[in-house]
């Protein structure tokens, strides 16, 4: 039996391994230490690594993110938790003007090897101000890297890559996935002795021949369910491409898949306007226009602030049924 591991547990393993590997790695954030993290992602790490490595911060995102950025410029490798990614706006200037720009503004003399992480998702009844998904906004800045893992295996491997990366990496998780389990082999089962997934490499999660469903984060799970329905009920073979990192973007894997299936839908839980899907749909049509047998479609969250009413919120995010319906409209 392969080992099953939850998304939060997989992240914890990544932290633990990196804390052991590099003494410069530290974890900071609101309640990450003594309380084990608001979503228990850092559970047990303070007990094991102590005050020097796992640091509780006050409720002051601009202050502690700024501190982490400054520390990273001096060689520390901070992993900063935002209790919700929705609070990134408090530290906006630090993230955009300092973290993302410093390598360029210093002529390459100063790096900012920071990871800023936390959940960025809607659909949990926490209201509009706690449900932001800013991956498109952050990926807009040259100098920034942006990762959105869809499962425990990728979360662990990508987190290790993010911590070792010399640029600021925005790492977006999902509270809806924290408790879900996937097969995650232990290190001694792996040929390289560890699980490490480089940034900028997409993953074909399911092979298919009729249509490509492209997604990031939890929308990948939605696509996989939709692909099963398409196969079972409509005889349509859907390929599912998980881009895993929005920036750097693995354009090649996307284009290869769409050139094979000739149809594409981008699915994301982000808002539609100026979304990641807009960028990728543009990239597809401008690069392989003649391979397209149908317009590239997008499926997003409904274009409204995260709805507080639970029944409405349930339909605000893309569902497998909506993906199936859209796929049928172009197949």
């Amino acid at each position: 039996m392969p080992r099953r591991l939850s998304y939060r547990h997989a992240l914890r393993e990544a932290f633990d391994e990196e804390l052991a590997r590099d003494p410069m790695v530290v974890l900071m954030g609101e309640e990450v230490a003594q309380y084990n993290g608001a979503y228990k992602v850092t559970e047990g790490l303070w007990d094991k690594w102590g005050d020097d490595r796992i640091v509780d911060t006050p409720i002051s995102e601009a202050g502690f993110i700024g501190m982490g950025i400054g520390a990273s410029m001096l060689g520390v490798r901070p992993v900063m938790e935002l209790m919700f990614w929705s609070f990134y706006t408090v530290a906006w200037d630090q993230i955009v003007n300092n973290a993302a720009m410093v390598r360029y503004m210093s002529g390459g003399k100063i790096n900012c090897p920071i990871v800023i992480r936390g959940p960025a998702n809607g659909g949990t009844g926490v209201g509009a101000t706690h449900s932001h998904t800013p991956e498109n906004i952050l990926a807009n800045f040259p100098g920034m890297k942006c990762v959105c893992p869809s499962n425990a295996y990728d979360a662990k491997g990508l987190m290790k890559a993010a911590i070792r990366d010399n640029d600021p990496v925005m790492f977006m998780e999902s509270t809806k996935l924290y408790g879900e389990e996937w097969d995650v082999p232990s290190n001694d089962e792996l040929p390289d002795g560890e699980l490490f997934i480089p940034l900028g490499v997409a993953d074909v999660k399911r092979e298919g021949s009729d249509i490509t469903l492209i997604a990031h984060g939890r929308a990948v799970i939605t696509c996989l369910k939709a692909a099963e329905i398409l196969e079972a009920e409509h005889g349509i073979s859907a390929e599912v491409v998980d881009i895993r990192t929005i920036r750097p973007l693995d354009e090649e894997t996307i284009l290869e898949s769409v050139a094979k299936t000739h149809r594409a839908i981008y699915v994301e839980e982000n808002k539609p306007f100026c979304g990641v899907g807009a960028q990728i749909a543009y990239m597809i049509q401008s690069t392989i226009f003649d391979e397209l047998d149908a317009p590239v479609l997008r499926i997003n969250s409904l274009d409204a602030p995260a709805i507080y009413s639970p029944p409405l919120e349930a339909i605000q995010l893309p569902t497998p049924e909506v993906v199936v319906e859209k796929a049928l409209s172009i197949c």
Partner: protein
Amino acid sequence: MPKIIEMPKLSDTMTEGTLAKWIVKEGDTVTTGKPIADVETDKATMEMTSFFEGTLHKLLVKVGEKIPLGAAMAVVLEDGEEAPANLDELIAKANAAAAPAAETKTGDTKADTPQRATSSLLPKAPSASRRPAARSSSNVRVKASPLARKVADELGVDLSRVDGTGPGGRIVRADVESAPKGGSGAGGKSAPATPTIRPVVGPEDERVPTSTMRNIIAERLLASKTQIPHFYLQIDIDAEPLMDFRSQLNATAEKNGGNKYTFNDFILKAVIRAAGTVPAINAAWDGDAIVKYKSVGLSVAIAVEDGLVTPVIKQAEKKTLLEISEAVKDMASRAKNKKLTPDEFAGGTITVSNLGAYGIDQFSAIINPPQAAILSIGSIRNTPVVDSKGAIVAGKRMWLGLSGDHRVVDGAVAATFLAEMKKLLENPALMLL
């Protein structure tokens, strides 16, 4: 070594500056930071200071002159330094370096100039550089996916003969692949859209490439004749009352200098009035529905050099005979000068074609799609007629023809329409009521 003072970047958006004032004159001593000139930028008039020390040898630009960024403005020599022989060369070098900025600016200005389209005779002229595969050989726009077009190119399939099974009837790859090469598609549109009989061109014959207008005429009328089930009716009317009526009106006009009416003006008015009485004629086929127009958009066929155009009198039912007459005169003269705007070709619901002036007694025009009817008006001719008493007398007669789209109107409806026209034209005073 002489120093060249160049136009500095005094605002972040300026591309050139205008010299407002020289504060220094030739022979003055300049020092770093000393104001030497006032320069108007795109934002404000700014003081310009010297970056050099020495004696101002020469001012190169005059007040009021526009100077591109980096272009030479003055020459400064070190105290006691003689101007070198190659000074002009140094100045030219500075100006050459500044030139690209100036050129870029000119380019931008050009790109910003809106392209006026009023000279174009017809709306939305298709570009000559359009990808060949985007149109079928019959020049009719087909809806196909990019991949379907590519595959059709590779397989030599004529997309105009392929039935699309994709959303909205779009041709997708599978449709192209299941279509025989160069032949009809899976479902098979039976009408061959490509003219298969090509002319033999001898050495003395001329082959004239088609104009945009000719292409549009060809495309629209081919579509009309191949897609619309035409039927044709003719009615012969007594033109004598109309001739008398027109003579009366124009006699008054001659005296008072008013508008002179043509026979066609009355015909147009009769069409508009009859369309009000028989509105079923003022309609169009829309696939799964018939569109019934609320208003009459009267398309008037006007012959021009190398073709014809059909500008539209919009909301014609609201126009008086005089307004119609003037509108047609105006459109005809502008059509000849190619001054009609694309907007004036839109919104037609029924067309009148009149070949009476050419001595044609009778003809059957091709429907102007997507309309449902076109009137074909012949000349007024002298002919023997049998009068109400059974005697053969000399008469003035005129043929009115109607070509109808049988999907939209049936023979009886069209006949009622023509009968209404006949009634109006034989009792022209009715049209003024």
